[in-house]
């Protein structure tokens, strides 16, 4: 068979590169997912009522959970996967307050947080 002409060679080589590109396809990150969610909290409280809520964790790592009332640190708990933690905090006083739980993933070093806003009458 005759040699390929240059334009044919361009097409053939490009198609081979095209196949190579296709084979290098990597998909988006699909590693272990950690889920965290809050439940059993109230967004308005009467005077003297304590703040209570639950934090649910569903993941494959070890976590450190720190709760904050506005910017003030309240408690630190270590937890592992598939866990429900219950918290009760003192009444923060009249006005709008934010209750934050920071979740430090001890394996990856990442920090994540959840919060709810409570209006104390």
């Amino acid at each position: 068979m005759e040699k390929l002409e240059l334009w044919e060679l361009t097409i053939v080589l490009s198609c081979l590169v095209l196949l190579l590109i296709a084979l290098t396809l990597s998909t988006l990150p699909k590693g272990p997912v950690t889920e965290a969610w809050l439940s059993d909290y109230s967004t308005s409280l009467g005077a003297g009522q304590n703040v209570s809520f639950k934090l649910h964790l569903n993941g494959g790592s070890e976590y450190e959970v720190i709760t904050f009332l506005d910017d003030e640190k309240q408690a630190t708990v270590r937890s592992n996967n598939h866990y429900t933690l219950s918290f009760t905090l003192p009444n923060p006083g009249q006005g709008m307050h934010r209750i934050t739980t920071r979740i430090n993933d001890l394996n990856s070093g990442d920090s994540h947080y959840l919060f709810f806003t409570v209006d104390v009458l």
């Binding site: 068979m1 005759e2 390929l4 240059l6 334009w7 044919e8 361009t10 097409i11 053939v12 490009s14 198609c15 081979l16 590169v17 095209l18 196949l19 590109i21 296709a22 084979l23 290098t24 396809l25 990597s26 998909t27 988006l28 990150p29 699909k30 590693g31 272990p32 997912v33 950690t34 889920e35 965290a36 969610w37 809050l38 909290y41 967004t43 308005s44 709008m96 934010r98 993933d105 990856s108 990442d110 994540h112 947080y113 959840l114 919060f115 709810f116 806003t117 209006d119």
Partner: protein, 480 residues
């Protein structure tokens, strides 16, 4: 001489097969490795096709979004998905992953056939090659039945150039039943083409069948047009050309001007058809400087499709200049493709943590209808049968201001804009995908970050509950 001819034929077939295999593989592989469809539009089409499979028809008003909405999307794509699903006994969502990329791959041999009919084998081979490696055409092989329109546009053009106007018209009708936009685009190309030849009778021969089909489809749905005023209005006023349109404009203009400069010889019907195609495409693209009403991504794909045939003709000469431009085009395409092939464009629309968010929303009471972006909403609605505020039903938007505000919500720059949207429409829950950069803007508002899901080194997918107190949404504090 005959031996030489046989050798050339064998080489031609082998090279064409290589082009087809490479072009098909790069289109089908992302669909095969993803467990879900790659584009959010597909999730909408899957819902309609599933409805056909279950009930045998599409109601004029969609039953799934809150309050219903006129259904004006032509039915043939949905019917094809439903029938394929029944024929192969596989779920519609599985069919939808492969249906369009398979048809997009078939465009490669059809392009070869078409170009060979009017030009030589070399030009045809180059056209098939350019079509196979075009990053634009590869990445647009997944979402819209416009792909079917592009495939059928080639036999349509074949009939047109052979003066078989009735057949062309019939194909326009079939294409219309798959997708209105591509049918209108092709009609405009045909119109320009026939006007340039002053063939007025041919126009009547071409368009009488599509006109009847269009009337039969839309007349029973006239009420659906009531929403188009709302739809077009805000789109004209509220947006201008984005940075991406400005960035690619010089490249697009160069891609049109280079083949025009290179093409030699007399303009025949074949060339006139592609002049009309490319000319109209570039005008529609430049219209983004006035209005984004013509979808920029889709319009670009159509432009690239026409340029393939334009370019194939321009670089099929025997001189070194042709070879140089062919090699440059191939290199640039492969480089661009390699860069974008690893992006979200070639993966399912959501990451694993975002799918966890969707599962979580599906466990909440039915009255929780979140505001979420298109990707999240389309997946939520199709995979869990739940409602979502920004659904993907584009063909008719009853309240465009509201729809546009919902879309804009994920791009606002300050909390006050966000608060205005949430308050105006009494939104009670917002689901953020990791890529929604406005996620941080919501924090100063009186909200609860109820749920979060994450992967290592990726942004969180979150669910926010909005606290409406005494009818108002206020700020928690000014703290970031």
């Amino acid at each position: 001489m005959s031996k030489q001819k046989n050798q050339w034929q064998t080489r031609l077939i082998l090279i064409l097969m290589l082009i087809f295999i490479a072009g098909s593989f790069i289109r089908l592989y992302p669909a095969a490795v993803s467990d879900k469809p790659l584009r959010f539009d597909t999730y909408y089409h899957v819902r309609v096709a599933e409805l056909i499979k279950e009930t045998g028809f599409i109601p004029n008003f969609d039953p799934w979004p809150a309050g219903g909405r006129p259904h004006t999307y032509p039915p043939l794509y949905h019917i094809s998905l439903a029938l394929t699903s029944v024929a192969f006994n596989v779920p519609v969502i599985e069919v939808s992953r492969f249906f369009l990329p398979v048809l997009a791959s078939l465009t490669i041999p059809v392009a070869f056939w078409f170009a060979r009919k009017f030009r030589n084998e070399k030009t045809a081979l180059i056209a098939a090659f350019l079509l196979a490696i075009s990053p634009y055409l590869i990445s647009s092989s997944y979402e819209s039945p416009q792909v079917i329109g592009l495939l059928l546009a080639l036999p349509l053009a074949y009939f047109m150039m052979n003066s078989k106007y009735l057949y062309s018209g019939m194909l326009v009708s079939v294409i219309f039943l798959f997708n209105t936009f591509i049918a209108l685009f092709l009609s405009a190309v045909i119109l320009i083409f026939l006007l340039s030849e002053k063939r007025f009778k041919a126009m009547a021969k071409t368009f009488w069948v599509p006109a009847i089909v269009l009337a039969l489809f839309f007349l029973p749905r006239l009420d659906a047009f009531s929403c188009s005023n709302f739809w077009i209005g805000p789109f004209f006023i509220s947006k201008s050309a984005d940075a991406w349109v400005k960035f690619v404009t010089p490249a697009f203009l160069a891609m049109v001007l280079i083949p025009i400069a290179l093409i030699k010889g007399k303009t025949d019907r074949y060339r006139r058809f592609w002049y009309a195609w490319v000319g109209l495409s570039i005008v529609l693209f430049l219209s983004h400087y006035l209005t984004p009403i013509f979808h920029p991504w889709r319009q670009d794909s159509i432009l690239m499709f026409g340029l393939v045939f334009f370019f194939a003709e321009a670089v099929s000469g025997k001189d070194k200049k042709s070879l140089f431009f062919l090699a440059v085009f191939a290199l640039v395409s492969l480089f661009a493709l390699n860069s974008m092939y690893h992006s979200w464009l070639f993966d399912r629309p959501l990451t694993s943590n975002e799918y966890s968010l969707i599962n979580y929303v599906s466990t909440l009471p039915q009255n929780v209808v979140p505001l979420a972006n298109h990707d999240v909403c389309s997946n939520l609605m199709t995979l869990t049968n739940r409602s979502c505020l920004l659904d993907t039903n584009f063909e008719c938007i009853p309240d465009a201001k509201k729809w546009y505000d919902y879309e804009n919500f994920f791009w606002v720059r300050d909390s006050e804009q966000m608060r205005a949207i949430l308050s105006a429409y009494s939104v009670n829950t917002v689901a953020f995908a990791g890529g929604d950069w406005a996620q941080s803007v919501i924090i100063p508002l009186d909200v609860n970050k109820q749920y979060s899901a994450w992967l290592p080194n990726t942004p969180d997918a979150t669910l926010y509950e909005i606290n409406i107190r005494q009818g108002n949404l206020s700020y928690y504090s000014e703290r970031p």
